[in-house]
């Protein structure tokens, strides 16, 4: 997902306080910034919300790539609005993470020097305009699968940002599907582009949910803390079941020869992604890892004089106001 493989931090707190804390969560109470919380809860959330925020920010790059080359002025305005929303999502989430006692600059620096991760999906390139369709349809679609249940997460600020984000996401997925419909019903060349985009994005989208629960040792603690709401395999299955009929409507073929409806389980059987590739991308060896991090570092460094200049200006104004009083 936008937060993949989040390692749950161990907690060494007083068992009685831990039990009382767990009872609050089980009763459906929200945990707020000033409430007592286990160290492990706090640290795991910083990592998870931080990674989610970084994904929103880095996720602007593959789509930003096509803003200047959108086929019509209307498509350009829509894509610009979509990418701007993603910037907003990053900001909501950074603020939620900051309530846990980490600063914005610390979070940014941890992204820039690679100590914190962002979703593997954004390390794949967007080669044609059809990729704007596939990203909105599949990538935002997969994100929605995971974000909708997270609206009920136990941490108040995180839950509130997820609620805001979910309100905006369905526009993202629909504008993507709308692009796909146009291309898939267009000329042969357009249809080939749409099919090619689906071929390249399908397995990376399935990777977004993270490795199989069977291999994920950390999910149990996060589940009981209501930081993680569903299993990875469960969400992946739901995504496939929802997406296959949408591909059929487009007249496109999901690039999985073994994809087959299974009446017994009431869902599709499908091929999982290549997990070696996934781990390799996480290690920094995906097609665009270097480019993405370089772009973020450049933006941060090139913007330093603006950040400092605005602070100096604000300080000067404040001093002048004080002197006038």
């Amino acid at each position: 997902m936008y937060a993949q493989m989040i390692k749950s931090e161990a907690t060494q707190d007083d068992p009685e306080r831990l039990a009382a804390f767990q009872a609050r969560i089980d009763a459906g109470e929200k945990i707020e910034p000033k409430d007592w919380m286990p160290e492990g809860y706090r640290k795991t959330l910083i990592r998870q919300i931080g990674q989610h925020a970084h994904s929103e920010i880095v996720g602007q790059l593959p789509e930003g790539n096509w803003i200047t080359r959108a086929p019509t002025l209307e498509r350009k305005a829509i894509l610009l609005a979509k990418v701007q929303d993603e910037a907003g999502h990053g900001l909501y989430l950074y603020c939620a993470a900051e309530t846990l006692g980490v600063t914005r600059d610390e979070l940014t620096e941890m992204l820039l020097d690679g100590r914190m991760k962002y979703s593997s999906i954004f390390n794949y390139p967007t080669l044609t305009w059809a990729d704007m369709g596939a990203v909105g349809w599949l990538v935002d679609g997969a994100a929605i699968m995971n974000q909708v249940p997270l609206q009920r997460t136990s941490y108040g600020p995180y839950s509130r940002s997820m609620i805001r984000i979910c309100k905006e996401e369905s526009f993202h997925q629909r504008q993507g599907y709308d692009i796909m419909m146009k291309m898939a019903k267009g000329t042969d060349a357009q249809k080939r582009m749409a099919q090619d985009a689906l071929n390249r994005m399908w397995f990376p989208s399935l990777m977004m949910f993270g490795p199989s629960d069977a291999e994920s040792v950390h999910s149990e603690q996060s589940m009981s803390w209501k930081i993680k709401m569903n299993g990875n395999d469960e969400l992946r299955q739901k995504f496939v079941d929802q997406t296959v009929p949408q591909a059929e409507y487009l007249g496109l073929t999901v690039p999985d020869p073994d994809l087959k409806w299974n009446d017994e389980k009431g869902g599709y059987d499908f091929t999982g992604p290549n997990w070696d590739e996934f781990f390799d991308v996480l290690r920094g060896n995906g097609p665009c890892n270097k480019e993405r991090l370089a772009a973020r570092n450049k933006a941060w460094n090139d913007g330093a004089w603006v950040r400092d200049g605005l602070m100096a200006h604000a300080e000067k104004k404040r001093a002048a106001r004080m002197a006038a009083e």
């Binding site: 409430d35 701007q84 900001l91 603020c95 400092d308 200006h313």
Partner: protein
């Protein structure tokens, strides 16, 4: 050099005459840019007609440990709710 922009809490009043409501926070160098940023971050879909920003350091908040002493006194005062009183049907709407 650590020179992080300060944090602002953002309050928005919607179209329908409700009070300003806390919507989130953001960083900005000063109040003017905080309002401009709040416009971009929190009102992209006509969510509001008025924005307040308050430097987060100026917000005083009650602490969770005071929950009992602060709110318990009102729990026993059920007569503060209109449903406490039974008004006969013959009296009509009240």
């Amino acid at each position: 050099m650590k020179n992080e922009w300060p944090l602002w809490e953002v309050f928005i009043r919607g179209q329908h005459g409700m009070s300003h409501r806390h919507v989130g926070s953001l960083h900005a160098a000063d109040e003017e840019s905080a309002i401009k940023n709040a416009r971009d971050v929190y009102t992209r879909r006509n969510e509001g007609v008025s924005i307040w920003v308050v430097a987060a350091r100026h917000i005083a908040a009650s602490s969770p440990s005071e929950k009992g002493p602060l709110y318990e006194p009102s729990e026993s005062k059920v007569y503060r709710h209109p449903t406490f009183f039974d008004i006969p049907d013959e009296v009509g709407a009240m």
